[in-house]
Each structure stands twice: as structure tokens, then as C-alpha cells.
């Protein structure tokens, strides 16, 4: 399920391995950083910075244990550093409390990354109309009758396709949990 990229291949300058690692973890790391910063732009900035430094310093770095865990920890530290330097001034006060209570949990964060892969793969396997209806409802907030109107189909069809989507996600997540 998860991509097992070894740090050794990145240390050897394997840009493909590095790209694979980046692509598999980027959204999850951003979501994690955003939880700490409450600012999506800064979250992306921090995650890219961590990956930039990983590649730049790859020869000097020693990483024992999981590379994923290292990256989450690095993003975590970067974000706390940013907060400490008050660079997100207006957001600082409300997050000071949160920062102190936030316990780093690499397992939970990595789990999020794997779930995202399951989600994306399931989305890809849905029939096209079913996917479109699901995304109109979930991503853009259209009501059932609005979707029916826009696509010139019946509300019953929307209901059926939404049910189909829920079933697909419920089953793929159950399968993921069973294998975990």
C-alpha cells in the first residue's frame, strides 16, 4: 500500500525515487502542516522546503528508521519553527495553545497519506458519471436536485450513483483496514 522508498536510493541521487516519494506524500504532509499552521499556502511552502532540504543535504544526512516518519517529523519541526518566529503573526495567538498540546503522531499522519492513496484509487475506478455526481456533491456542495437539473437526469439516478460511490469507498477502506 505505502510506497517503500529507501533513503539509500535518494542518497545515491535517484531523482525518480525522490519524485515518487514526493508525489506519494505531498497532499498528506500538506494537510498535516495545515493542521498546525491553519494556512494552506504556508503549509505547502513548508512541505516543499523539507523536500528541498532532503535532496540538497542528502549526502550529509543520516536517517535511521522510516523515511516517512523522518519527513513528518521534519515538517512538524518546520511548522513549529515558523510559528515560534511569528511569521504567521495574525494566526499566532490562536494557535499558541494548540502548539503546546499538539503531540507528534507520525503513525496517524502516515495513515492519512495511505488513506489518500486509497481514496484517489477508488475515485479513479468509479464509473465516470458516478464520479462526476459524487464530486459535484462532495467537492462543490451541489444538492441532489441541483445535480439532477444540471446533468438532465432524475434525482433517483443521483441517489443511486451516490449510493454506489459510498459503497465503493466503504469497501475499499474496509479492505485497507483489513490488510493494515
Amino acid at each position: 500500500m505505502s510506497v517503500a522508498i529507501q533513503f539509500a536510493s535518494i542518497k545515491n541521487g535517484d531523482i525518480k525515487a525522490y519524485e515518487t516519494l514526493f508525489r506519494s506524500l505531498y497532499p498528506a504532509l500538506c494537510a498535516y502542516a495545515n493542521k498546525l499552521l491553519n494556512d494552506a499556502d504556508w503549509a505547502e511552502e513548508m512541505v516543499q522546503e523539507v523536500f528541498y532540504l532532503l535532496w540538497k543535504n542528502k549526502t550529509q544526512l543520516t536517517i535511521t528508521g522510516s523515511l516517512n516518519a523522518y519527513l513528518y517529523k521534519a515538517v512538524h519541526n518546520k511548522c513549529l519553527h515558523l510559528i515560534a518566529h511569528r511569521q504567521v503573526k495574525e494566526k499566532y495567538s490562536q494557535h499558541q495553545q494548540y502548539q503546546n498540546n499538539e503531540v507528534f503522531n507520525a503513525d496517524e499522519a502516515m495513515h492519512t497519506g495511505e488513506l489518500y492513496t486509497v481514496y484517489k484509487n477508488t475515485l479513479r475506478t468509479l464509473p465516470q458519471r458516478c464520479r462526476q455526481i459524487f464530486q459535484m456533491n462532495r467537492n462543490y456542495g451541489y444538492k441532489y436536485h441541483e445535480i439532477a437539473e444540471k446533468l438532465s437526469i432524475s434525482v433517483k439516478t443521483v441517489e443511486a450513483d451516490m449510493g454506489k460511490a459510498l459503497k465503493a469507498f466503504r469497501q475499499s477502506l474496509a479492505a485497507y483496514n483489513a490488510n493494515d
Binding site: 519524485e19 497532499p27 512541505v47 528541498y52 488513506l115 489518500y116 481514496y119 459510498l166
Partner: protein, 324 residues
Amino acid sequence: MKENKHIAWHTLAKYLSGNAPDKNDALLADEAGAEELAACKETWKILNKMQEMEQYDTDKAWNSLFGRLNEEELVSGEAKPIKRVNFRWSYAVAASLVLLMGLAGFLFLQNLQSGISYINNNVAALTIFLPDGSEVSLNQGAEVKYYKSFGLNDRSISLAGEAFFRVKPDKNLPFIITTQQTAVKVLGTSFNVKSDAYGVEVVVKTGRVEVYRDKNIREALVLNPGEGALSSGVGLVRYQNERENYLAWLDKKLVFKAMPLPQVINDINQAYHTQIELGNSSIQNLVITTTFENNSIDEVLESIALALNLEVEKQNKKYLLISK
């Protein structure tokens, strides 16, 4: 997960998405079972979280990160098919704009004017992602450039050489490709553009493409799938594309239907960047019907030689086909 019970998925989905105001937890627990309702609620919670994550554009972020590494020359050796250079409009133009816009505008503009350029120096096609998610595959020697303003008012990109485009549909942001003398404007489609010293050739695979010359929109042609246009010194000409192998440089798929050998060799040379020649004129009239998909150049030539009773001689990078 239990499969034995019939679960009313559509009822659950309708309830969870807030489209069933007449239902409540107790009713649903009755209909689907308390356990299943809880599991679906958990699934829905995860889906909400995943949808939040979709805002992070991995392609765009990767391009930006890779560009930064490349600019600082941190990507080295064979793994560096991409060259990134900065280029700017002439300062004369910029200066005249300063008068109009003031300094803040100038700084903004200067930032937008820094450009990104990709050149493919390898035999293998190089596919890059543009910030809007469109894809460009570059043939050997091809180069594309775009400015940071890409995607602001339109999606403008310049091309030298041959490339295949898969453009993400966006009605509000026309995708415009400029070559030395021709501009191609599309709304979302796929097509091949080849520009060389002789002119520019556009062949459409899917969708509709507008082609115009010398940036003169009045001379435009609208092409449909299967159609091509050739823009050269004598003007802009539409034609029905009958060359099945125009994309072989990218997909390595070759189709020959009773095709004379010289033409076959020409298509193979273009697809594989090879130099194959015919040893004696007596074999020029041979024709062949066959298809290849993802074969190596040696496999292709061996198979043709076998079918036509020829011999392949390999000399450095050149191949010679001769009769036995």
C-alpha cells in the same frame, strides 16, 4: 465487513450528504443496522478529510520544486533531461511599461516575465506537466517556453521542434501555442505540432483546434480530428491526415498497410531517430503490411528483413537493408 446483509447504500448516502431531512440516526440504524451506520459515518468523515487534501496540487508543487533544484544545479548527470533558463522581455518594453504602471506594477510584471524553458536533449520523448495540468511530450530537440504569467489571462507557450499536447479543457483560458510563424489556439484537446525550417504542421487527434498564421486571426482554420494543417511560405493549407504513424515518435506504434519500403524506412527513421538506408535500388518496389507496438529498433528491422527476405547490416549508428 459483512456481505450477507442487503444494505441500502443510496439511503445511507442520501442521509450522510444531508439530502434526507426526514431521516435521523435512529431510523437509519433501524434500516441499515447500527454497526453499518457507524462504519459509513466513519467512511464519510474520512472522505471529507480526503476532499480537503485535494486542494494541494502535487503536479504543480513538483514542477516548482524540481525547477528550484534544477536552477541551483542540484540535479545532475543523466537524470537531467530538463534545462531551465531565465529569459526576459527587452528592458525597453519593460521601461515603457514602468511609465504606465509605476514601480509596483513593474516589479509584479518582472516577476511574471521570468520564464521557464524545457529542452529535450534525449532520444526518448520527455513529458512535462504545465501548471494547469496540461501535458506536453517533447520529441528529441524540441523546446517549449512559458512565462510565469501562464494561466493568468490565457495559457501561452512557445514551441520549437515537435511536440504532442494534451490540453486540459478550460473555456476561460485559451491555450495558445506560438511557433516562429504560426499560432495554434485550443480550448482542450490533443494534437501534434511540428515546427522546423520548412514550416509548421499541426495534426489533430481529439477535439477541435484553431490554427492561424502570423498571429493573424482572420486567416484561421478550424481543424477536426484526423485533419492536419501545414503552414509554410505559401500560406496555410488544410489536409486530411493519412499518415497513420505521425505519433510513432511518442507511442512507438507503427502501422504499415501495403506501404512501399522507402516510406516504411522513412517512418521508422522518424520514430526511432535512426539512419536506415536501402542498399540496392531493386528493393525499392517491395511493399509490406504489418504493425509494430513498442518493439526495439532491432526487433522491427529483423522482422521486416525476415518478411521481405533481406539482410540487415549494422554500421555504427547506421543500418543498411540489402537483398540476400
